[in-house]
Symmetry: C2
Subunit: 400 residues, 2 copies
């Protein structure tokens, strides 16, 4: 019912019954339930073209209920607050050196960010129904435990449990950043609605989120899409995971900095205060503008390896679109043409397989956006998770 | 209704109505329809535990309706005839040098095999409702055209159209061999019911069929699972596809022969009469038994590369099982332990991702078996494709 109203817009009880095929008693009963939870309102709005006394119509009252999405990554924490109608209430990112912090400090900071966001959303009179946290690593979605996040240095961290202390009774879910970003792209991004797409996080780690046949590809344990550690070069560099020649050593943000601006590379003790990735990218763009040949050369090399790895994804998953996120999107003008040429050369199906690289428009916000979206979807799928309002505050009839 | 009877077994009309939630008039009407098509029969069979006059029960009469699956590969054509109850009526394979034949000769031979099989099934009083052909290459499933099958040397071959001439009015479908084999494994193989599995054809070409979340992964154009041309070694050999270092140059059957028994390798002009792969494998086993060190060395090398490529599949798709088909299954004892060790070493999720190599028990018959199964599934899904019987031959009541 909720999803129906969300898609269709306001409707009378009679119209709802006729269109859903439910009988009128069922419709009335469901609407009472949703009213009691503050999820729909009854208004006297006249429907377009209708004559006579204004009929009563039922509308989604999603502005009072919402969800919070977060992402913790190597050098930032992102927050996205969303109400049921899809309106964004919070969209911010702070620099945070998760790579250089121990797990406890990172989780403390994450809890503080959650508390602040919840306070802001409460001030905006939004009831938050769910929190989803995106993490660049392998996640046990059932338990909310991060099993392994190499670029954060995390192993077996019970994130949901640790956050629950600071957010109870709101349920906390944890999921892979690339999976959540892929869902954000599939629902609201540049390739929205494309049933076969891959999203690549362009960060220090390179993760993949795969939508196949319109569904998120999870695999047996929820670990599908681990593209960053594809072995692409037996003679390559040592990776953070302990192996050699992984794809992310060729195309990750750390590789770009190492090649284009070694004095700003990750992991240097003298690299100064924590910066969100954009500040490093601005520095690279400044050098590129000043004619530093290392930048062009680095981008060419990265584009080539993007195409080589992209062809592996195209052969195995046959997506129509590979959405480039993070820093890849920022440098789209220097990466996409060369990467596409490599991919076209290497894909077995050749021109029959029409797989295109496109740049995300969600920048580094895709995962947090997807995280909030997942939590909102859960309310639409199961409105009983929203508590009944106290009787006195239940709206009965309101003229808009 | 048909699928229900297939799963549940014989049942009375009343039981069917109660268990399916359909009303009795609908049940009776559906059963009349299915009787008229010769798909169910009404018998006086007494149900276990019932007392009094034997009730009439409805049973699937699948023994008169069936489907034909075929596979054409580099050196053989396989045929599998199946009735609706799952009984195998034909299961045979002939040696045929498709690699060395031109497209027309291959298709003529395929048509001859189809005609022979249809004659045999007609003699067994089976009405064949569908034909599915498995091909080791990229297939446009909508049109039944093979776009590219490198190891057969085929490009843009309209297989369904060419076969229709010899099999009309039976509909012909064409699909990728590994996809069909994966479906066979998922429904009736060693890992049946595992919702996340990958099947690898161990032939000259190495194809992959991916079941993810219980569904065949097709991708945007139906080309997903093209594992044979994963670039695994930039310094490797030239592949049949024109690229360098593809996975199948490391683990395909041609690689085994080249390393273990070069005088029996594929493509030698003096290699004698056409042989199904087993004959070549028997020769290799003979040499292994005689202590030829090249065989052990070749199998060790293949096992190592199986693990390296398998880890790519595990990282991207996170299957619980990788089913080894074709020649891999025959040499399971020499391949699985080493391949598993490599995979375990390379998978990012490590022990959290429990992905096991297992050997298929369907040998080189998996794709033809899956092809027949797909055609049977179509009848179960849409019995209206089965024509009404002439009125005089419609069974009404039959005592078994």
């Amino acid at each position: 019912m909720l999803r129906y109203l969300n898609t269709r817009g306001p409707a009378s009880r009679a119209a709802i019954a006729a269109e859903t095929g439910l009988n009128k008693t069922t419709v009335s009963s469901l609407i009472s339930e949703l009213q009691a939870r503050g999820l729909v309102v009854e208004t006297g709005l006249r429907q377009a073209g209708a004559v006579g006394r204004p009929g009563r119509v039922i509308s989604l009252d999603g502005a009072t209920v919402g969800a919070l999405g977060l992402e913790i990554n190597v050098d930032y924490i992102a927050t996205h607050g969303l109400d049921l109608t899809g309106r964004t209430l919070i969209d911010r990112r702070i620099g945070f050196d998760a790579m250089g912090s121990d797990v406890d400090r990172s989780l403390e900071r994450l809890v503080a960010v959650v508390r602040e966001a919840l306070a802001d959303l409460a001030a905006a009179r939004l009831r938050v129904m769910g929190i989803t946290v995106a993490v660049p690593g392998l996640v046990n979605v059932e338990t909310g435990t991060v099993l392994y996040a190499p670029n954060l240095g995390w192993r077996d961290v019970p994130v949901a449990q640790r956050l629950a202390a600071g957010s109870a009774p709101i349920p906390v879910r944890v999921d892979n950043d690339a999976n959540l970003a892929a869902l954000a792209e599939y629902t609201a991004g540049v390739a929205a609605g494309t049933p076969d797409l891959v999203y690549l996080t362009g960060e220090v780690g390179v993760g993949g989120g795969v939508i196949s046949g319109g569904r998120l590809l999870r695999g047996g344990d929820g670990f599908a899409g681990e593209v960053g550690h594809l072995p692409v070069d037996p003679n390559g560099d040592l990776c953070g995971c302990g192996r050699t020649g992984c794809w992310e050593t060729k195309v990750g943000l750390a590789a770009l900095l190492r090649m284009a601006a070694p004095d700003h590379a990750y992991g240097r003790p003298d690299s100064g205060p924590v910066r969100v990735p954009e500040e490093r990218l601005t520095e690279i763009e400044r050098r590129q503008a000043a004619g530093d040949p290392r930048v062009e050369q680095a981008l060419r090399e990265i584009a080539r390896w993007l195409g080589i790895g992209g062809a592996i994804l195209a052969n195995l998953l046959n997506p129509r679109v590979i959405v480039l996120g993070g820093y890849f999107a920022r440098f789209r003008g220097h990466l996409i043409a060369e990467a596409q040429a490599q991919l076209d050369r290497l894909v077995v199906a050749g021109a029959d397989a029409r797989c295109q690289f496109v740049a995300s428009e969600l920048d580094f916000r895709a995962a947090a956006h997807g995280a909030a979206h997942v939590a909102v979807e859960q309310v639409l799928a199961d409105p009983t998770m929203v508590a009944m309002l106290p009787a006195k505050s239940q709206p009965t009839w309101r003229r808009r």
